[in-house]
C-alpha cells in the first residue's frame, strides 16, 4: 500500500506460512461477521428510523430458532479454528529429532547465544538456512521472551528452568529478534537480529570465529575441574551413576518414579541434586547452585550429552557441529 508501511511481516520459515494461512482464514471469517452485523445495524437503523418519540416498534420478542442458529454456527466455526490452530501449535512445539543445538541465556537486557562449536554471540545469531535449529534457553534474572517475528515463534525465558523453541529458516537475510516479556528499563533495548546464511557461508563463519574450544570440550574441562569424575565414573563404579549413554534414556528414581533424562533433568541435577536422586544412590552430591553460571551449566549438559557412546565421543561431537546430519525434511 504505502511505500513506508509493510502490512505483513517477512516470512522466513515454512512454519510462518502455516501461521499466515491460519491468520488469513480467521481474518476472513471475522471480516465476514463484522460486515454482516455492521450492514444489518446500519440498514435497520436507517430503514426503521423515526423522529416521533411516540412511535412504537413491532411486537417481536425473539425466536428460538434464530438464537440456536447464531449460537451453534459460530461455535462450530470456532471449533474449526480451534482444531486448525491447535495443529499449528503442535508443529510450533514439536522439534524434529535431529536439530542443530544452540544454547542461549537471557540476561537483563541482552541475549547471549552459545554454539556447540564454542562460538558465543551477544544479541546476534547466525544460523544455516534449511536446517532445523533448536534453541534451548533460560533466563538468569527476570522473565524474558525470545521472539522471532519472521519465524512467528516466541517463548518465555523463565529463570530456573529451560525453555526451547525451534525453527527452520528458509530465507536468507537478517531478521528481528525481540524480547517480548517486559523485563525492566531497557526492555526495548534487548533486541537483536538473526542472520540466516547459506550452509557453506555458515560453515565459514563457524570456523572463522571459533572461540575457546567447543562447548563440549569446555564442558569436559569443567567436568574435570569440579571433580565430577571422582563420583561419576564411566564404568559405574563411582558413588554417582555413570553418565555414559544416559541422555535420552529414562532413569528410575529413589523416590519411586521415573524421569526422562533431558536437558532440564541434567540441569536440575547439577543445581538441585537432591531433587531427583537416582535409585540405588545416596543424596550426597553437593549443589552447584550459585557456583556455576548458566553458560557453564550448559557446557556441562552438552558434555554429558556427548557421552552418549563413550568410545567415539570426541569425533561424534565434532561431527555434529561441523558437517551435521542430512537436514530433516525441510519444514
Amino acid at each position: 500500500m504505502f511505500p513506508g508501511i509493510s502490512l505483513f511481516p517477512e516470512r522466513a520459515s515454512a512454519l510462518a506460512a502455516d501461521v499466515d494461512h491460519l491468520y488469513y482464514f480467521i481474518t476472513g471469517v471475522s471480516a465476514f461477521f463484522a460486515l454482516v452485523v455492521t450492514i444489518f445495524v446500519i440498514y435497520f437503523a436507517v430503514k426503521y428510523r423515526t423522529s416521533d418519540p411516540m412511535a412504537v416498534g413491532a411486537r417481536i420478542h425473539g425466536s428460538i430458532g434464530l438464537e440456536l442458529a447464531w449460537s451453534i454456527v459460530p461455535f462450530l466455526i470456532t471449533m474449526v479454528i480451534f482444531v486448525w490452530s491447535a495443529n499449528v501449535y503442535f508443529d510450533i512445539y514439536r522439534p524434529p529429532d535431529q536439530t542443530l543445538e544452540i544454547y542461549a541465556t537471557g540476561k537483563r537486557w541482552m541475549w547471549k547465544f552459545q554454539h556447540l562449536g564454542g562460538q558465543n554471540e551477544i544479541n546476534e545469531l547466525h544460523v544455516p538456512m534449511g536446517r532445523p535449529v533448536k534453541i534451548t534457553f533460560t533466563s538468569e534474572d527476570v522473565l524474558h521472551s525470545m521472539f522471532f517475528p519472521a519465524f512467528r515463534i516466541k517463548a518465555d525465558a523463565i529463570p530456573g528452568r529451560y525453555s526451547s523453541i525451534w525453527f527452520t529458516a528458509n530465507r536468507l537475510g537478517q531478521f528481528h529478534l525481540f524480547c517480548a516479556e517486559y523485563c525492566g528499563t531497557r526492555h526495548s533495548g534487548m533486541v537483536g537480529s538473526v542472520f540466516v546464511m547459506e550452509p557453506a557461508a555458515y560453515q565459514a563463519w563457524l570456523t572463522g570465529s571459533v572461540g575457546g574450544g567447543t562447548l563440549t570440550s569446555r564442558g569436559e574441562r569443567l567436568f574435570g575441574d569440579l571433580a565430577c569424575n571422582t563420583c561419576h565414573v564411566s564404568d559405574g563404579s563411582g558413588r554417582g551413576p555413570s553418565l555414559a549413554n544416559k541422555f535420552g534414556s529414562s532413569e528410575q528414581l529413589a523416590s519411586g518414579g521415573r524421569v526422562a533424562v533431558d536437558e532440564a533433568y541434567l540441569r536440575e541435577s547439577i543445581l538441585l541434586p537432591q531433587a531427583k536422586v537416582v535409585a540405588g544412590y545416596q543424596p550426597l552430591m553437593p549443589t552447584f547452585q550459585g557456583l556455576l553460571s548458566e553458560e557453564n551449566v550448559m557446557a556441562l549438559v552438552e558434555y554429558v550429552k556427548s557421552l552418549r557412546a563413550s568410545s567415539e565421543a570426541g569425533s561424534r561431537s565434532e561431527a555434529a557441529a561441523t558437517t551435521g546430519t542430512t537436514p530433516q525434511e525441510n519444514r
Binding site: 523416590s255 537432591q274 543424596p283
Partner: protein, 232 residues
C-alpha cells in the same frame, strides 16, 4: 413479601416499627435475610481469599514432598492439636451464644460470647509461643533463615506459606475478637431480643468460618507425612 408501605416518614413511623428495623427495609424478616445473605457472600470472598494460598500450598507440596515433610516436622504437633481443640471449642461456645441470643437470654449470650473470646485468646497465645519458637530456630523466611540439609530453600518456601497462612488466619481471629467484643457490648446493653438477634448470628457465621479455615490448616501444615518421624 413487602406489604404496602406505611407512612413514608423515616423515623416518625407508627409504633409498629421495631427500633432495629432500618428505614429501607419493609420487615425485620427481610432485613434478617438480607444481613445473613450478605455475610454468606462475604464468606465466599474469604473462601477464595484463602483459596489462593491453598493453591500455592498444593503446587509446592506436589513439587517438593520431601521439603514439605521436613518443614512439617519442625511444627509442634501437640500445640497444633491443642489449638484445634480450642478453636472447635470456641465454635461450640459461639453456637451457644447465638442460641442464647435467639431465645432472648441476655446474660447467657454475654457469657457465651466472653467464653468464645477467651478461647480465641488462648488460641492466639499458643500461636504466639509457636511463632516465638520459629524465631529462635531461624525458621522465619528472609535473610536470616537457616535450615540444614539439601532441601533448605524449599523449606523456606514452606515456612513462607506457613507464616502467610497462619498469620492471615490469626489476623482474622483478631478481627473476629474485635467483632465479638462489640457484639458482647451490644448484648450487654440489651439490644438483642427474640425478634432481633441477627448481628449475633452473622458474627457467629464469621467465627465459624475462621474455625473452618483452621480445620483445613491443621492437617495441611502439621500432619504432612508424620508416618516417618516421631510425633510431637
Amino acid at each position: 413479601m413487602a406489604e404496602a408501605l406505611t407512612a413514608h416518614g423515616d423515623h416518625g413511623g407508627p409504633h409498629a416499627h421495631h427500633p432495629a428495623l432500618q428505614h429501607h427495609f419493609d420487615t425485620l424478616d427481610q432485613q434478617h435475610e438480607a444481613a445473613t445473605l450478605g455475610m454468606w457472600l462475604f464468606l465466599i470472598t474469604e473462601v477464595l481469599f484463602f483459596g489462593g494460598l491453598f493453591l500455592a500450598y498444593m503446587l509446592y507440596r506436589v513439587w517438593y514432598p520431601e521439603a514439605w515433610a521436613e518443614g512439617s516436622y519442625q511444627l509442634n504437633l501437640t500445640l497444633g492439636a491443642i489449638n484445634t481443640v480450642v478453636l472447635i471449642g470456641s465454635s461450640l461456645t459461639m453456637a451457644f451464644a447465638v442460641r442464647a441470643a435467639q431465645t432472648g437470654l441476655r446474660k447467657a449470650t454475654v457469657g457465651w460470647l466472653i467464653a468464645t473470646m477467651l478461647l480465641g485468646l488462648t488460641f492466639l497465645v499458643i500461636k504466639y509461643f509457636e511463632y516465638a519458637e520459629k524465631f529462635e530456630h531461624h525458621h522465619v523466611p528472609g535473610s536470616n533463615f537457616s535450615f540444614p540439609g539439601p532441601h533448605g530453600d524449599q523449606v523456606q518456601i514452606y515456612f513462607s506459606l506457613y507464616f502467610l497462612m497462619t498469620g492471615l488466619h490469626a489476623t482474622h481471629m483478631l478481627i473476629g475478637f474485635g467483632l465479638l467484643s462489640v457484639i458482647a457490648w451490644m448484648a450487654h446493653k440489651g439490644r438483642f431480643s427474640e425478634q432481633w438477634s441477627t448481628p449475633v448470628e452473622i458474627s457467629g457465621l464469621y467465627w465459624h468460618f475462621v474455625d473452618i479455615v483452621w480445620i483445613f490448616l491443621f492437617p495441611l501444615l502439621y500432619l504432612v507425612d508424620r508416618a516417618h518421624t516421631p510425633v510431637g
